[in-house]
């Protein structure tokens, strides 16, 4: 961020050109908080680095392991936070993470109507649609309509459970293992597990 001001002509910084006005305000806030000794510049940098490093790959590893190892799956469903730590994954700051298993009879879908809580540590940053008012209101009142918009039409015989994460617990969906994947190894299975399937608005990618 800091660049050398050895030259003596004014310039508009390339790194901040074309930003929304709020970004300048956020930077000013950061500067003030660092100057006042409330926060350290390095810790903010470290946090940003952590956030941008989060991807759905970690969640996918949990799901793939559960698909191949029944005992692990039982542990995952019992305490997802502990199961993540078992695989050396970072479960994030939430004290409780719960994994919800989709079966041939039950499909889960996750929303946070009050704000937009999301298991960032295991899935990366939430998509814009997840944080939007339409999703947050319709996911609870018209979940099947929302799923159809995502291209997923659940049969009437499937029980749809929408989970509203109203408190500090983070929920992660364990989607069903696609058919025809018996010969795939764990790594290949993990590649089929999409972020949207772990939110519950889609099924995992099919085997090729």
């Amino acid at each position: 961020m800091n660049h050398d001001h050895g030259h003596d002509h004014p310039h508009e910084p390339v790194t901040t050109a074309g930003e929304p006005p709020a970004a300048a305000r956020v930077r000013a806030l950061e500067e003030l908080l660092v100057e006042k000794g409330v926060l350290g510049r390095e810790e903010i940098r470290a946090r940003i680095d952590w956030l941008v490093s989060r991807t759905p790959a970690d969640g996918a590893r949990l799901v793939a392991r559960a698909w191949v190892d029944e005992a692990f799956k039982a542990r995952l469903l019992d305490d997802a936070r502990a199961a993540a730590l078992e695989l050396d994954l970072d479960p994030g700051p939430s004290p409780v993470v719960v994994a919800l298993e989709n079966t041939e009879a039950v499909h889960h879908m996750v929303v946070c109507t009050l704000c937009s809580c999301y298991p960032k540590a295991l899935l990366g940053p939430p998509p814009d649609w997840y944080k939007s008012l339409p999703y947050r209101s319709r996911a609870v009142s018209d979940p099947r309509g929302v799923l159809r918009e995502f291209g997923l039409d659940l049969g009437a015989d499937i029980e749809l459970l929408v989970v509203d994460s109203t408190a500090d617990i983070r929920y992660l969906v364990v989607p069903r293992r696609p058919a025809g994947t018996e010969r795939l190894d764990e790594e290949a299975l993990a590649r089929l597990v999409t972020r949207d399937s772990m939110i519950g608005v889609a099924q995992p990618a099919p085997a090729d």
Partner: protein
Amino acid sequence: MDAIVGALGEHGVMNVDELRRGIESMAKDEYETATYYERWLHAAETILAEKRILAPGELDERVRS
């Protein structure tokens, strides 16, 4: 903004429920036109001013300079 809020939480300066209260206190039209992180910014400013960590107008002045 995410990093600032997280760091404030870690230092015990502002917890997540205070952040949510700050967001809930926004006027309806402001809430609806703000982006997700603009709401977090608004909430942080509200709570930090409440706790007298930010003086009134201090952030505006810094943005202008």
